[in-house]
Symmetry: D2
């Protein structure tokens, strides 16, 4: 079967590089175009870029010329890892020009007709595309890197017990800030107890993701979330200390079983980037840990551990997910795989 041609916008940045890496041998998609800022346009990717991921620039991409991020790219789909300062307008332009845009940026996440998609959670939100204003072009967004692990962990609880309150404190990896992000002098042997705009995203995005499609809109879930976000000296993998109140009380065993048995459409469709098991529960109180477990199931599953009762809330526990795979490029690619399976490229 012929692969779908794709472009990567913002290909020199942190998320862009991860897109390039993960798409290197993808069964559905072939990277035919790479786009970046005016400064980079016209240059050869392999020699121009400061590649900072493990391994090397994939062979096929190394000699490609970087193009400007403007319609005219020879591809059907664009993945956007653009900086939020420019992403909004560029993505709109591409959608209007008939491209399918899968974006990792925040700009369009709350557009009334744009799905904020986590394929295991809300594949039905894709119905918004039928009423989206861009004609043949479409915009689909991926949540913030710290939201996605939390939303996946909450999904089976919302479905089975109902959720009232979620309190979360994050210990986030450096790669979440992009490249170069924070100076080595700021992060080595240190904690930075603030990430601009992050708490707002974590308190708001899950409500849309976990919300219900209702004819022409998403009705957000009624839920109170409070987030505190910290940056720690870890390369990849966001750890989250979480507390919850359930509507219907249940035992730890039933709760763990709800997580372990959770599965979604990507698993049923056997999408290439889908984790075999979206949520892993560990029976050791000191697990999960970013360096040990972030790559579980190709970096696409969420790890949970240390479920215990709480003097204030019903339960407390630890979540871990890979912020640049599940939380960014990998999550966006899974969205595109779902789009293809649902016939949006036909």
């Amino acid at each position: 079967m012929k692969k779908i041609s794709v472009g990567v916008l913002g290909a020199t940045g942190s998320v862009g590089q991860k897109f390039i890496q993960l798409l290197a041998n993808h069964p559905f998609f072939e990277v035919t175009e790479i786009g970046a800022s005016e400064n980079s346009a016209g240059k050869i990717y392999g020699t121009h870029i400061n590649w900072f991921l493990e391994g090397d620039v994939p062979e096929k991409i190394r000699k490609k010329e970087i193009k400007a991020c403007e319609p005219g790219l020879d591809c059907r789909l664009v993945f956007s890892g653009l900086d939020a300062r420019v992403a909004g307008g560029v993505e709109t332009t591409f959608a209007e020009a008939g491209y399918i845009v899968v974006s990792n940026s925040r700009n369009h996440r709350y557009d009334r007709d744009v799905p904020l998609l986590v394929p295991e959670i809300n594949p039905d939100h894709l119905e918004l595309l039928n009423i989206q204003k861009y004609g043949k072009g479409k915009i689909i967004t991926n949540p913030n890197c710290s939201t996605i692990g939390l939303a996946l962990a909450l999904k089976p609880l919302v479905d089975r017990f109902g959720l009232e309150v979620v309190n979360v404190v994050t210990l986030q990896a450096l790669s979440g800030a992009g490249y170069p992000g924070l100076s080595g002098l700021s992060v080595l042997e240190n904690v930075v107890p603030h990430i601009a705009g992050e708490e707002e995203k974590m308190e708001k995005e899950p409500l849309k993701i976990l919300g219900k499609f209702n004819k022409d809109r998403i009705d957000p879930l009624q839920l109170t979330i409070s987030a505190q976000c910290n940056r720690v000296p870890v390369i990849d993998g966001h750890t989250e200390s979480v507390q919850i109140n359930l509507k219907e009380k249940t035992s730890p065993e039933v709760l763990i079983e709800a997580w372990q048995n959770f599965t979604g459409k990507p698993q049923k469709l056997k999408l290439p980037s889908a984790p075999d098991q979206p949520i892993h529960y560990f029976n050791r109180p000191d697990y999960p840990q970013p360096r040990l477990h972030r790559m579980l199931d190709k970096g696409m599953s969420v790890s949970i551990g240390n479920l215990r009762s709480c003097p204030i809330f019903d339960y407390k526990f630890t979540i871990l997910s890979h912020n640049t795979i599940r939380g960014a490029a990998g999550g966006a690619i899974l969205c595109a795989e779902l789009l293809r399976a649902e016939g949006w490229f036909d």
Copy 2:
């Protein structure tokens, strides 16, 4: 004035080394004895020890012989940095033999007649010593390293507004686990989301510290605390993401002012280890940070930042304190300074 002779028990360990370092040129105390385990007894401190603090073993201590931790030491006061597996019995023996014991271990913290002392918070708890069962000998304890910063931050709030609920998630430094503590392979570029026994201490200790002396006992403060404890790759300095509910609602400005104006008996007495200002509030959301602020006021003050309202509780904010100075050796030395000022060595 003649200095009071002191011994350091557990002098080869992490807290013991910090005692040795901080007492090197102390105006009140002179280290005359150093005690450690049977294995170390008889050896010369400077050549035997694996000193891992900045700088070097203080000149005067280098050639001292290590003794066993048994009464017979030539000193009036012993600071105990002993491992909790042995501290309880050893400390009791020393108290029964007439020594004043200031302990950093957890064993006697909940003894009905033993003060759990933070000199700025509960100096009146020293009245328990009048009824303590050891005669001339006494036992005074210092709280756990993660408790002390929290308790200091809460004290002015308890006094002025009343506290109902405290929720805390910690990002704790490696030195809190002693030496060698965690393997470099476990902590580099990683988070360990569990510290055995730590959450229990944080949920319980503040209640006694903030409690009221009542004739022959401490009536604990009525307060619900929930703690989640994480270890992060930081050498010194515990960061805490805190949320609170107050009994009497107030504005952020009034709250900050309560912190900044807070002062206690050690400040009035101008004790040598007392910080000038016990609590510093920073007007930058990304402050305090362990590497920048842990040494504020000789490592004895608590730093707070990023006070903001919370969707679940009244407020959220960040606390930082130095875990081996304010949270261990320095805190214990301040206790001993208070004892001296109150005439317990006369």
Copy 3:
């Protein structure tokens, strides 16, 4: 074809865990026995062990009972990741009992009849096995983790130009010290400029590895090596700053080409653990770097960069190799694969 049954001795340690991980789905070998110290014997591997590698204990191994390291194990080959304090005697006992022993410990490396094997460099040294004193049993050793990358980088130079002098300063990863190895408090944001016994190994081992098989012994290469060894806060991957004097002078281009074209018997035999290209040269002065390049070719190849002329020696350059894969477990497995290909298990 039936797999060869193997045991892993020292299976709870750092190298032992890496053996277990790398052998999980090996085409030639099946782990049937796991041995460790008396303390661990009788316990179940998956629940007893403090697994600190990425991912989890392989499924098949999780429920295996740990045995004592004594003959009687049901396997044909044992990989030894034992501590050098006990390895010598245990390995001799196993060889005398008829097992083929592939050891990562230093004890037998200089035995006159024991090959110190790097399959790309000296596969002919296996002829020593014909005269080895253990009968059906055999002992084959793998070099020290800091030696192997250096020896591979030197091999094509020895062959084509001749080598006179080698000067090397290492920046070694924590995992080279085993688990727990150095305390997090000793290594975070620090350098430890000494590794006991390491410099001696680096100055001596390459001479035997690069030596010539001569009837019944190895004639060591005549070569002067000086090593200085440092420990740095890196998990895996030894970096080495190297200087050399060649016998026959040559240009950088010819030297680089000698590295890039180097290939050996494992490549010809297409052994499963053999890297496609044993030596990679990078054209960026700031490459190779441990986090980016240690996993090149499954962690089995050596990376070189920044070749430049030197005011003292002919050339200076940087080497990187993965110390627990190429430098320990992976290297030993490659040795065993060569043994099988050469018919030693027939």
Copy 4:
């Protein structure tokens, strides 16, 4: 005695901040002016700057207005922590306008009439100032941060035994690259084996520093140096693995004694920033270490350890010095203290 008014140029950068911090309570100098780039000029230092040093912006400096780096500043002396891209011209302009310039930048280091000053080594090089072309204004330079520790360690050997060859491999701290310098993503759990231009400086600067003043010029020392420079995840403190050949052979004991007894003019003059003992030798092979020993003698002394014989050179050993104190701001301040003591401000 009235303090000398000084300006700090490049006050927002890494070295500039260190100047501000170290000059906060200096007995000779008072910071009256702070200069930075056009972008910062006109802003208030305390609110504008991203202060990343321990503690806080000194009280007196906090409210100062940042000025452009142009003559007209109200001070007698300027310390320059300017970026090398602009330092050359700016420093010349200030000298021509009659200011004494003490520079940490590389631009004027090799000017024939400019001293490259290390006060313990070559105070007589100040005689160049008598023939310098700037009239009342003067330019004095400080060596590169990786050079200064090496030069100090070599000085007593040059004087007593004569030096033929020096080979050095560095493990340099992040702060040497300024702020922001390297991304946290590039340096955490990693080594970067290249620092642009650094090796050239290390191979050349010591020759001038250790050279002889000869009427109107410095005759460089005849000495061959080879340097390889690596960046490691350490905040402050450059470690160097060094090898030397002496002209006159000597024993380790005599060599160590030469280091320990070394003293210079700053010690005789009791200059405020002078270390009591410029060179400390440690009798432990694993010392010195950056985190333990960089702050020895206020960060102004050089630590040496692990002297041992070498198969290639006469000796090998480890050096450590604080790169932003002794190797930058502190070293420059010591230069200025010497200038004052020698009457250049009279």
